[in-house]
Amino acid sequence: MNTWNRTFNETWNLLAGRDSRVARDEGARARLRAVKIAERYRGYLLAANTTTGANTAGTINIARTPVLTFPALVRDVNFLTTPFMEIQITRTNPSRTQMSNEFLWNNLYGTSQLNGLQNPGIPFSKCPWVEPFNLMTNELLQVRFQQTVTDAPRADFQQGATFRVIGLNRMPCPIQHWQEVEDYIRRNRVQHPLWLTTFSDDAQTITFPSVATGQRTVATTREAPEPLLLTAFAFPIPFFVNLNSGATKPKIRIVSSDGHILTPEPVLIGSLYDFSGFTAGGPGGGWLWWYELPIPHYLPQGGTVTIEITDFNATAGSINVDELVWRATTV
């Protein structure tokens, strides 16, 4: 049961006078378990980005994720590509002398048709596997983009895939820390919702086209007033203006103050979009709707999350980088 459903049921029971010692203990255990899981297993956004776009039919671009230094569970993937792209994903172990590729997915043909969109540089809805699969240490995912028609493709539209993965290496957690979390949960009978916004330390607004490729800016949240579980973020870059133009597209890198790097490689922002969320307005503009983290991230009291945005190169428009929002609840 996810956090929302659990807290909904608990709140409903509380109002219905069905609060009991047993229910309280069960709720506290579930909350503690959520923190333990969030601390032991970390989520990652694993990017595989091409350096160029696709020009004519038959153009092939290969993108690779970083080599994993830990085993991981791959939940799903989002793409940012030109239309009519054939996509093949393989898992490889580059450290072996003889490559042993395992075929994962092929012939995801005409992905734009799936989404009913014809614009170049379009993001695609999340593509979950039938079953999440494991990646082993020293393995990586390779994505092969092959352009099938010459109609819409352009050489300067970078492509990419972002995999949502959960690291399966258990992180050590000091006992004292658990006691602190447990004490907090005992003191606070109910969880409190919070939207945590970020704040840019250099410029609140970056205006194109004065910003050159490679421009970076950093935005950091305020210190968490209480221990939090972050579950998702929403991003304010309008898709059409900022993601659709230029040889390189903006990327983000997310790091929390405890040193966890959510994005080992910068992630193409466009490859986080999920068009199924745009029920109105279509692709002509719009903000990234909630992007769910692979697994909730525990942010201790006083912790912050920093987001770095790089590689702006758009022809028009602006971005307020102080507006990224994290969805959170107290633990």
């Binding site: 956090t3 929302w4 409903w12 970020t198 109105a280």
Partner: protein, 336 residues
């Protein structure tokens, strides 16, 4: 047909849903109407009326008028419940109000943001108030620009009241539902269309003084047919935009105890577009409509092409034939 044990399990789940729904009351609570944000320096505050009971706040919707500026990227919102912030920004002053566009994340030009669930529900105690403040982000590029004084924001709070026991009448309905579930293997969807009675059609009650001749400052009411069996009301659909609505169940439940709300609050649509884009709003827990009961709506004060006082003829035109002058309000129901 499923196995007997499995069928019984499904039936028990259906029964549990009815029991839960009978204990739950869906409430749509608007913030008090607030004055316009006149220029960049303004911060305007809206409050909910003090609540009469403990409720669960599970989400809210936010909409604004779409006159100026053409883009609403600078719109900022701050929410406080029980004296605690729901949106934690960084600096003082204006920056404590956040541009909330991305939280609802629809297109840049849209002015109806749809429903935003809270990260987790929260209890607002009786007498508690929810506070919202609005302003413009000074970095949004509208510096020195005077805002149209007809600008306003409207917040609708989505709440649940929960009872701790059933009344005798509730128990009777629950028993009727049990009989229905025992004798019916499947649930069937039912659409309850609202119809304006002929007498109301001719009345077009003047609301607030001006009779616009077509719905502005006017009011009328509509109701569904009485239902013969208990129904679970799961949500509502309407294409009314600028109308204000009050909804109740003739058995006694008032969905809008704090007064009328702007129908646009439940809509998501493009700026400047009053075309009838229908709303599909779902309650988190269904409402039980007892046999013989009707749903009743007051629709008030429409403007432009979307007239609040426009009558409902009980028909929903197919999507390709929908025009602004044809309005509907339909409740999405299912048998127990």
């Amino acid at each position: 047909m499923p196995e007997r044990s499995l069928a019984n399990q499904f039936k028990q789940q259906r029964f549990n849903k009815v029991a839960r729904a009978l204990l739950t009351r869906n409430l749509l609570i608007p913030l008090t109407r607030k004055p316009a944000v006149a220029d960049l320096g303004d911060v305007v505050t809206g409050y909910s009326l003090p609540l009469q009971e403990d409720v669960m706040l599970w989400g809210f919707t936010w909409t604004q008028s779409n006159t100026e500026p053409s883009s609403d990227t600078g719109r900022m919102l701050k929410l406080q419940v029980n004296g605690r912030e729901l949106i934690l920004n960084t600096a003082a002053g204006f920056n404590t109000l956040n541009n909330f566009d991305q939280v609802s994340s629809f297109t840049q030009a849209e002015t109806g943001y749809g429903v935003s669930n809270l990260p987790c529900p929260i209890i607002v105690p009786a007498g508690g108030r929810i506070v919202a403040q609005f302003s413009y982000n000074p970095s949004s590029g509208y510096a020195g620009q005077e805002m149209n004084t007809s600008q306003y924001d409207s917040i609708l709070l989505l709440c649940l009241g929960v009872k701790n026991c059933l009344t005798d009448e509730d128990k009777l309905i629950l028993e009727q539902c049990r009989q229905w579930i025992d004798t019916h293997e499947y649930q069937n969807p039912v659409k309850l269309n609202m119809v304006t009675p002929p007498v109301e059609t001719n009345l077009n009650i003047v609301w607030g003084g001006t009779n616009g001749g077509g719905g502005i400052n006017q009011a009328c009411s509509s109701q569904s047919r009485p239902v013969g069996i208990p129904l679970l009301v799961r949500g509502l659909e309407t294409n009314l935009m600028w109308s204000r609505l009050q909804l109740r169940d003739t058995r006694g439940h008032d969905f809008t105890p704090a007064g009328q709300f702007l129908a646009r609050n439940l809509c998501r649509h493009a700026a400047g577009n009053d075309a009838p884009i229908s709303v599909d709003f779902q309650f988190p827990v269904a409402h039980v409509l007892a046999p013989g009961a009707q749903l009743h709506a007051e629709h008030l004060d429409g403007t432009g092409a979307n007239l609040g006082a426009t009558i409902f003829d009980g028909l929903i035109p197919p999507p390709d034939e929908q025009i602004a002058s044809e309005c509907w309000l339909t409740f999405d129901c299912i048998t127990p």
